[in-house]
């Protein structure tokens, strides 16, 4: 279960352990002594707090991407190092560590944040210090225009694009009468609003919207609200009650006929799809940015990426087959680092004085080819909105695996610009 923790503690082993640690801890960690002028990248890491489960995999992905990058010569021939700072998944702390990374540690830029509230709390600090801030957040807040010129999201698509791109497949293949079940707060409301609009545009109809209070832990009493004519249930429940939700939904329908199910893998990110209670999901569909299970037609780049981050063909850690990765999100760290390298090399980046040039160089990018730098797939980049757009996958639960049933095109997720950051001053 938990390897390495079969301690047989005695007074003697405690003392011996302390002695070993005395020797071992004598020279604490430095990784930056190899070169006189490495490029220093700050990483705002959700190491503790509610984002810790993601932070663990983000750190692992960043470390793997860094090793690959340095093995290939670094950036512009200079070695690269990443300085991780724990933001506690807290916006105030996020802004604080951004300042530490930018001013005390002299990082050239900061990247890596996932949780929206941390990004929104930190972005003003990036503008104030004039330090590029590359987020891996999935939130629509970058493309919506609420942030600033120093904040970019080139490594992952936003939730508005993801939701919108699902509508053509859902209405064409699963059914046109959709009932949505979502948690009753901003995240659920985004899904409700974006999908309802996209579904209607595709000729479908959202016939019921069932909002579940965020503190709810039992759902059976909500299921009678699902209209009998429902063809598809679109569910985006999150949090610790999600397994209970699936279990109770299964009990509600029993072994009889049920509507098609469509969900977002966010609900079950880092959770084994074969967990007890999830049997009901067999045959259902999920959005996945990056398919957790290695597909039969996986590219060489995908294979190389999996090996580098230490994830097996089932999406779990090579060191622990039950430890499922946050696979649909963590590629953003890898791909953002690729964009940083391309941007710095395009800008002829030499140091902090070139930070503005770096932002302009990224803004000038139009897209990224699928390959080892971008294993999740090809993307376009909108320099005006600072947002990447990419392919989205719809996978089906078949035989205990998530198998790609459809890949939505980049265009399926496009929407009109809501901001032009390039018109703003630095």
């Amino acid at each position: 279960m938990t390897k390495g923790l079969t301690l047989t503690p005695t007074r003697r082993t405690v003392l011996a352990g302390m002695g070993a640690a005395t020797a071992a801890s004598f020279f604490p960690g430095y990784t930056n002594a190899q070169s006189s002028e490495p490029i220093r990248l700050g990483f705002q890491l959700h190491r503790t707090g509610i984002g810790a489960a993601y932070g663990r995999w983000y750190e692992r992905t960043a470390t793997a991407a860094l090793a690959r990058m340095n093995a290939a010569g670094g950036i512009g021939g200079r070695p690269v190092e990443i300085l991780f700072e724990d933001d506690g998944t807290d916006p105030a702390r996020g802004a604080e560590v951004f300042g530490k990374l930018a001013t005390q540690s002299n990082c050239d830029l900061v990247f890596g944040a996932l949780f929206s509230h941390v990004v929104i709390g930190t972005a003003p600090r990036a503008a104030e210090l004039k330090v590029p801030y590359l987020v891996c957040s999935e939130g629509h807040h970058v493309a919506s225009g609420m942030l600033n010129r120093w904040t970019l999201q080139p490594g992952i698509t936003d939730v508005k694009s993801q939701v919108q791109a699902m509508a053509p497949f859902v209405t064409s293949n699963l059914g046109k009468k959709v009932t949505m079940i979502f948690p009753d707060f901003a995240f659920g409301h985004d899904h409700r609003d974006y999908f309802t609009a996209a579904c209607t545009a595709q000729g479908g109809e959202v016939i019921a919207q069932i909002a579940i209070p965020p503190t709810e832990t039992s759902f059976t009493r909500y299921f009678p609200q699902i209209p009998a004519e429902t063809e598809v249930i679109y569910h985006v429940m999150v949090g610790p009650a999600v397994l209970t939700f699936v279990k109770e939904l299964g009990e509600f329908y029993g072994s009889g006929a049920r509507p098609q199910l469509f969900g977002f893998i966010d609900s079950l990110e880092a959770v084994d799809i074969n967990s007890a209670g999830l049997e009901f999901l067999d045959g259902s569909h999920f959005w996945e940015a990056h398919p957790r299970y290695k597909q039969a037609d996986a590219s060489e780049a995908e294979t190389a990426y999996r090996a580098a981050v230490g994830v097996d063909d089932n999406g779990a850690s090579v060191g622990d087959a039950a430890d499922v990765a946050t696979y649909s999100h963590m590629f953003s760290v890898w791909e953002t680092l690729s964009v940083i390298k391309a941007g710095m090399e395009a800008a002829g980046y030499t140091g902090a004085a070139d930070r503005q040039k770096l932002v302009e160089a990224i803004e000038a990018m139009t897209g990224f080819e699928e390959g080892e730098d971008h294993p999740q797939g090809a993307k376009t980049f909108n320099g005006k909105t600072h947002q990447a757009f990419g392919i989205q996958n719809i996978t089906k639960v078949e035989g205990g695996r998530l198998v790609v049933a459809h890949t939505a095109s980049v265009e399926d997720g496009m929407y009109p610009d809501e901001v032009d950051y390039t018109s703003q001053n630095f």
Binding site: L5, P28, V118, V159, D190, A322
Partner: protein, 458 residues
């Protein structure tokens, strides 16, 4: 800047975003029939109180000597070694990697010491007695200065320790960044120095009542089934039922009672403040938790309130239980409060069990890579840290069963101890009269298990 960030976070409910609330161990736990366990535990504790009260027969809580041996090294040497390790850890905190799960300092303070050593103390007695980093240096310094006697700090009883513990609990549970290696290093260094100076002035013996870790670890060690008694140059290792050491202890002083209440209250609030119940009660959405910065004031109040409520409940229950006896609350609280020691220690171990299994892996990995440069001295292999068990049905079951056994065992021992202590004090409590105390024990059993099973953030 912090105000602006907080304001931005507060406005988050109005903006689009991704919610990534994670389905973790609690997700699996919520699908298990934990409620049945809570009821079963309540019944067992109640029946234990009833049967023990009616029959007036409980375990003897006797100690047995296992063996005796000479002391292996000079008294104080291990304390010096501990101080040296602490110095290295502080150095690592200040100048090492900023990642709290790779820097040895936060891992040693929060995982090895606070979680791991506490668990060891609960089974193997007061290891801290040899490991405290003050005694050796304080003794040497006093000898150098030729200082004997004190400055009167002893008159304050355990109040300095209680205040130190309150500050520590606040730092752990409420403050913004308890894991930051550099900040932790400064705090550890400051605390060590402050205690060192006070102990030099007062005498090394003062540590046992004035320094919170020393008091805390001693309290936990008192329920250990194995322990060592020191007599001159010899050590006698003893064994007995958990609580065997407690039955023979002198009554707790007022400040010692306050300290014990704080032990129970702080670990309880540590569990409570992450529950959906608490988060919703303070007006927040647990699926969209804004982070510590938004809840510092209310959680500070919560921590203090937990202490006051815990003290009030225990004092109230004891007062009601002995209302017909010819003793005052002040006379009987000191002995009877001892029976809460198993609860304090047991809940601490159960509460931090998952942390031990997760962060403990990081602590081992950090030993394998002490310079945070990718070494693997212990041959663990790549990607050794694994949390798959947190979402594995069987593993979550096993963890729950272990937590259940610890909490239930702690409360059963507490009930039996309270009867033994009452009998020793000459009280003839009938099951009916002691009902308030029994009820409190039963309620706290349920509360402790509920805290471990209820939906929580993180």
């Amino acid at each position: 800047m912090r105000g602006r960030a907080t304001a931005a976070a507060a406005a988050l409910a109005l903006v689009p975003g991704a919610a990534l609330a994670h389905a973790s161990q609690r997700a699996v736990l919520l699908t298990l029939p934990t409620k049945g366990f809570v009821w079963a535990a309540a019944i067992v504790v109640a029946l234990t109180a009833l049967l023990s009260g009616v029959t007036r027969r409980g375990p003897a809580f006797e100690a047995r000597s296992l063996f005796s041996r000479p002391r292996l090294c000079p008294d104080g040497l291990t304390s010096w070694l501990s101080a040296a390790v602490l110095l290295l850890l502080v150095y690592a905190g200040l100048y090492g990697t900023h990642d709290p799960y790779r820097n040895p300092l936060p891992l040693w303070i929060w995982t090895v010491l606070w979680v791991g050593l506490t668990a060891l103390q609960a089974f193997f007695g007061n290891l801290w007695r040899d490991l405290d980093p003050w005694r050796g240096p304080v003794r040497a310094c006093r000898a150098l200065l030729g200082r004997t006697g004190g400055m009167g700090l002893a008159r304050l009883g355990q109040w300095p320790a209680a205040l130190g513990f309150l500050a520590f609990a606040w730092f752990e549970i409420v403050s913004l960044s308890p894991d930051d290696p550099a900040e932790l290093a400064l705090i550890v260094a400051f605390y060590w120095l402050a205690i060192f100076l006070l102990a030099v002035a007062e005498g090394e013996g003062w540590l046992r009542q004035g320094e919170f870790l020393t008091v805390f670890f001693a309290n936990v060690a008192r329920i250990a089934p194995f322990w060592a008694d020191y007599e001159g140059r010899r050590v006698t290792v003893k064994a007995g039922l958990p609580g065997a050491q407690v039955a023979g202890l002198p009554p707790l002083s007022g400040s010692a009672i306050a300290f014990l209440m704080l032990m129970i209250a702080s670990v309880s609030f540590d569990g409570l403040h992450e529950t959906y119940l608490w988060v919703a009660a303070i007006g927040l959405n647990p699926l969209d938790y804004p982070g510590r910065s938004a809840v510092m004031v209310v959680n500070t109040a919560g921590l203090l309130a937990a202490w006051a409520i815990m003290a009030g409940l225990i004092c109230g229950a004891v007062a009601l239980a002995v209302r017909a006896e010819r003793v005052t609350l002040a006379q009987i609280l000191g002995p009877l409060a001892l029976s809460f020691l198993p609860i304090a220690a047991g809940y601490h171990v159960a509460h931090y069990l998952t942390a031990l299994l997760t962060q403990g892996q990081y602590a081992i990995a950090a030993l394998s890579d002490p310079l945070a440069r990718g070494d693997d001295l212990l041959g663990l292999g790549p990607h050794w840290v694994g949390f798959g068990f947190l979402t594995d049905h069987d593993a979550v079951w096993r963890i729950w069963i272990l937590q259940f056994a610890i909490i239930l065992g702690a409360h059963v021992v507490a009930v039996l101890l309270s009867h033994r202590i009452a009998a020793n004090a000459g009280l003839r409590l009938t099951p009916w009269r002691e009902m308030p105390l029994t009820l409190l024990m039963v309620l706290y059993t349920c509360f402790g298990l509920w805290l471990l099973a209820t939906p929580a953030i993180g």
